[in-house]
Symmetry: C5
Subunit: 324 residues, 5 copies
């Protein structure tokens, strides 16, 4: 699906834009053209090569189905950017990345994504309403898209953080074997977020540092620097979530271990007390003909008393060693 907008030099907005008008805008270098390709068919995407005449390597990067780490390539007349948007699916259980490809020219932005991206839709509406995002040039429009994309990371990390804190509480209340899988899954998600963020940060930093003066104006550097700060902040959050995950894993393993210790200690105390008692009883269960104690009047009660004494002695011994 193609959506196209053209902001004419006089400030009026045209949508959709005919191929003819696109070529004209490209030729004149005036106005601002924004083409958004969402889950575009190869036929629809043909304007990438036909109208815009982008390099076939940049076009192939749009169509391959791999998850490409974020990058930025300078093709002279235009920049080609790959960014990864993130969204949580299945109620936050799984993280999904959607690739957003951007071609940034002097007076045009072409965005390409195989899945619908809510924030692109939002910016489109904003443009149609007041045209502000498009009034400030192609680099500012690209900035708006990347800014929104990066902003989506914050709530996801915060959600991971909350999930982990929730798991931690439950783990401390009652360590269950099922938590391990959840903790490991959360840890893996955190790792993945981290690896998605790092190249994104570097890409934005390259723009903010002014590496592409031909296509990004100096007055826009601050805006990209702002995105950079956001990525850094999110990365910082991710690190602290990772610490939390390690802590929860430690708590879990230790809780499991504590419970095991408790079980073993109980067994040890019970066995260590009862084995001697049973031994005493079994002595007087022997059938020797000559066992003087058996004929004593209070033999039985003496035996019981002896057992009680042994039991109490052992219990005190264990108590002293703080085994229970």
């Amino acid at each position: 699906m193609i959506t196209s907008h053209l902001r004419r030099p006089d400030g009026t907005l045209v949508s959709p834009v005919s191929e003819e008008a696109m070529r004209q805008a490209l030729a004149s270098g005036e106005g601002l053209l924004w083409i958004d390709l969402e889950a575009a068919s190869e036929a629809e995407a043909s304007i990438l090569s036909d109208v815009f005449q982008f390099h076939h390597l940049a076009i192939e990067d749009c169509f391959n189905t791999h998850v490409d780490p974020a990058k930025i390539d300078d093709y002279g007349d235009y920049l080609f950017l790959i960014a990864q948007a993130i969204s949580s699916v299945d109620g936050g259980e799984r993280l999904e990345t959607t690739e957003l490809d951007l071609y940034l020219g002097r007076n045009y932005v072409v965005s390409f994504h195989s899945q619908p991206l809510p924030f692109v839709q939002e910016i489109r509406l904003r443009c149609e309403k007041n045209g502000l995002d498009m009034a400030r040039g192609a680099d500012f429009l690209a900035h708006s898209l990347l800014d929104q994309l990066v902003d989506d990371f914050q709530p996801i990390v915060e959600q991971l953080d909350e999930q982990l804190e929730h798991v931690e509480e439950q783990v401390l209340a009652e360590p269950h074997a099922s938590f391990l899988e959840e903790i490991l899954l959360l840890k893996r998600n955190v790792q993945r977020l981290r690896r998605t963020l790092i190249p994104q940060r570097d890409m934005v930093n390259r723009i903010a540092r002014g590496e592409f003066p031909k296509l990004v104006r100096e007055e826009s550097y601050l805006y990209f620097r702002d995105i950079y700060d956001h990525v850094v902040r999110v990365a910082e959050l991710v690190e602290s979530v990772r610490d939390l995950a390690d802590g929860v894993l430690n708590s879990y393993l230790s809780a499991i271990n504590n419970r095991m210790n408790e079980v073993m200690k109980t067994l040890s105390v019970v066995a260590s007390i009862l084995l001697p008692l049973t031994f005493i009883a079994s002595i007087y269960g022997m059938n020797f003909q000559h066992m003087p104690e058996l004929t004593w009047r209070y033999g039985y009660f003496l035996a019981l008393a002896a057992m009680l004494a042994v039991a109490l002695g052992l219990a005190m011994f264990f108590r002293l060693r703080r085994w229970f």
Copy 2:
């Protein structure tokens, strides 16, 4: 709440400063103006844009509620700094960071924080008393604020160190499951401190290296270098606390394990000695009609003697293997 001070070129101090006087000071570039906004309402904060005409990105960074890592942005006529002050709450159990935002111009400093910061109050009093901090220029005033902010880290790290040493002593005396949570919490606090410090260090280093010659004079580099040294020293302390935390965690886990070993060894010794004895007793508890030993005159005593021999033999065996 806004507090404003103006040190006139003649050395007199005016407070509060009217908006009119502010504009005049900014226009003339003479004297030194210090505006402190504490938990300011948006209305109060409007002077940031109206009077000082700061960039809206820098203003937004003050008002967002995220924890921003320390940074420094060069806006040409002024620098925008974010620093993180630290304080311990709940009797040292929890660390809290408060963001201090600074705008440093040629003859003004604007400080912005959402929470009251004791050291800002202190510097304010010092200024009012002798005006020394304000007599040496805007960069020196900014240095004073950052210096105090960094100085607050030292006691916090030392407190963490003491807490850990206290926990360690208790762990070695008696390892209790409850310590684990405390150790993990302390470790997390240490990690957090570390991550708060690193960008702070880099920010101060950039100033000390003379990256902003327009707004920070060469004679002030040494002072920022001094702050840098403090941050490095605190970071060094944090590392050693982290080592300590790892050591305490190891001690704890090992102490728990030792106790478990002791319990298991006792059980093993008791069971290994008593099971054979009980077995011997149960043999003579059998009801076979033809059991010669049962009729022996000293059968019973021989049986007891045999048991004693077995018990002593086993005890010696275990002793030899140093099991108890």
Copy 3:
């Protein structure tokens, strides 16, 4: 085995190429010559020194039997590259690397490998069909070879990923000691892949950055940058597989541990309940002459009831502590 192709300036393709024609092509600097040496004997390889007059160090690197990390050496008139192709043997159990050595001159490419490489064969066929790979110059031909070589990594990493996910499922269903070896083997394979990739990435990056302008034309940089992106993507995948491997290892160890805990808990519960019961029974198995309970009419049933009470009490106690 030597295969040789010469694309004449007029676009015709000659194969095989006589030594005479090779020398002529080298002397004239026209056309494009591709010599592929597969498991070449020293005699066959003599053209390296005789015809092409490569440096003996570069030739020795082809013939040594060690696994050389990827590298690129600039000999002025030609570049010498070592790359490592990968293939999985024994049904994916073992990874095997095959060294591909490339000499890249202005109008020739000499490829050398001790094992047949399917992708070299494929490019050869492609050249013979339409000559496209050879029509665009020596650097493009070298790019084609490296591109295919790198593309072979992706399916291997994906296969490792699948194997790990398969193992993980099985581990969660039933942790078997045999899995450990498999997990450790997979981990080692991942490590090895990683170490094979990193120097490859650096080598390609050096070309893409334009370090060798004499032999790689500027218009080819993009193509090498494309390979670079692929290597980065694969390396990213490898990292995530490594995380997965660590997770599976953790799951395995934890599952083993859980099973052990379950066994120990069952033993503890059984022993802790039955030892007291047996003790009671053994009391009334004593042969004292004066044991009042023995003569009671319902003594036996009272004893059984007492046992039942003890058993239920203990069971409830363990239940409360959630031991089963």
Copy 4:
């Protein structure tokens, strides 16, 4: 306590030096002045500001009681260095660092330390004897001080190494819980040494690289490079001690574990053999009226034989599984 030496241009040595003579030497720039302040009172230290007019930040760094990481500050006319000397106290149990502060001017060295340092004393004696260290200029004297300071690290690291090897031997002979604390303490000491060394290395490297050509002459670079090599060698040693410490920790944990395994195996074997035997005995201890075996002539001996058979069978089974 102040010690002062002045080597006059004619080679004669004066000690102590009057404040008047100091000022003269500073003004003329001739001769070499060495002032050593050991545990100096503020009154004594006043010459730092009065005579030498050092920057108050550098003076404050001398008097603060924190452990400052090694650093070097360039104040134009003089360098200010902080180095950390090390010594072991309590028979090698504890490492203590003493700060040595150096001011290095064109023709003077001022050393400041709060504790007596044996090597400073030694160099002083050497100077008084033959004056060689002072004959070669201020930078060479500073080099001598730092060289001796660094040389003190080597025996300390070697001592740690020996202690660890001693502990390792004991651990392998008999793992005792008390070793853990010792190993962890040694590990912590190693970490600390490492963190003390790294900034020291960087500081010396900056001088050796010629960053301070105004105060350190080119012919002295080699000498500082020599100190640098020593620090690198010691750092290398520290790394290998750290490996050793990790190895000993592993040995210890594994030895503890092995012992536990041995205990558990013995218990398991004893219990697994004796429980069946006791069960057989208890069968024939039942009081049923109709138990044919009880009346058999050789019933008792058959029962004993059965027990023996079971015991031997189980023992063989365990032997086969190599449990003992």
Copy 5:
């Protein structure tokens, strides 16, 4: 022991060389002089200072008994290199490093080592036979020495690799406590190799990059680059051996753990089955006067049947849970 060779400009080889001839060669700068000092006495080594007039710091580095990390120092007229040769003693159990010090001048090489080095001997013989190594200049001779030194690492690493694989096989067949020490020793050796290699690599790289154009000719860079490649390859091998060592350690720990689990499971199954049986038997071993079952005709057999039923039931339960 001093060995000296002089290759005269006319290609003839003189050995030994008189001190007079040495001085002449140094003065003329013609021919190539190679002096090898093996375990030289201080008297023999006096030519270092007397004839060659090397800097005393460089000479001291030869005589100190510490293990110096590899380095290269530029003394203007000559380079001073320290390299570490490796050899395995005690049948491969222990690795020993021997320091090789090289002075590389324009037309001389002085090698110094405290232990005999086989490869130095070998190169000496080669020189005497055909003089090739000496025919190509001082830098090439130094290259030959370093090349051989580095080549000795490969078989050592391969031997470590084989030892580890051997240990791994044995560990999987039967984990014995004694293996741990061996694995830890191998790991430590690997670490040490790694730390010996890294500075060596950096040293060679500095030469190969052309940092010393005065003493190493451009045509020799390739040869040093070749050594560099070898070091990188060996370092790569070392990394993979380290992975293997970690894997073997994991296998060992896991095998020990598995065995323990097996032992505990057997104990648990035996105890859990026999305790209930013994309990049943002990019930009917009680001496109550009124126990109806005792008088039943088939009481005994019913009891035995009950026991069998309980045993089978429990065995099935454990089987179901896959405990054996």
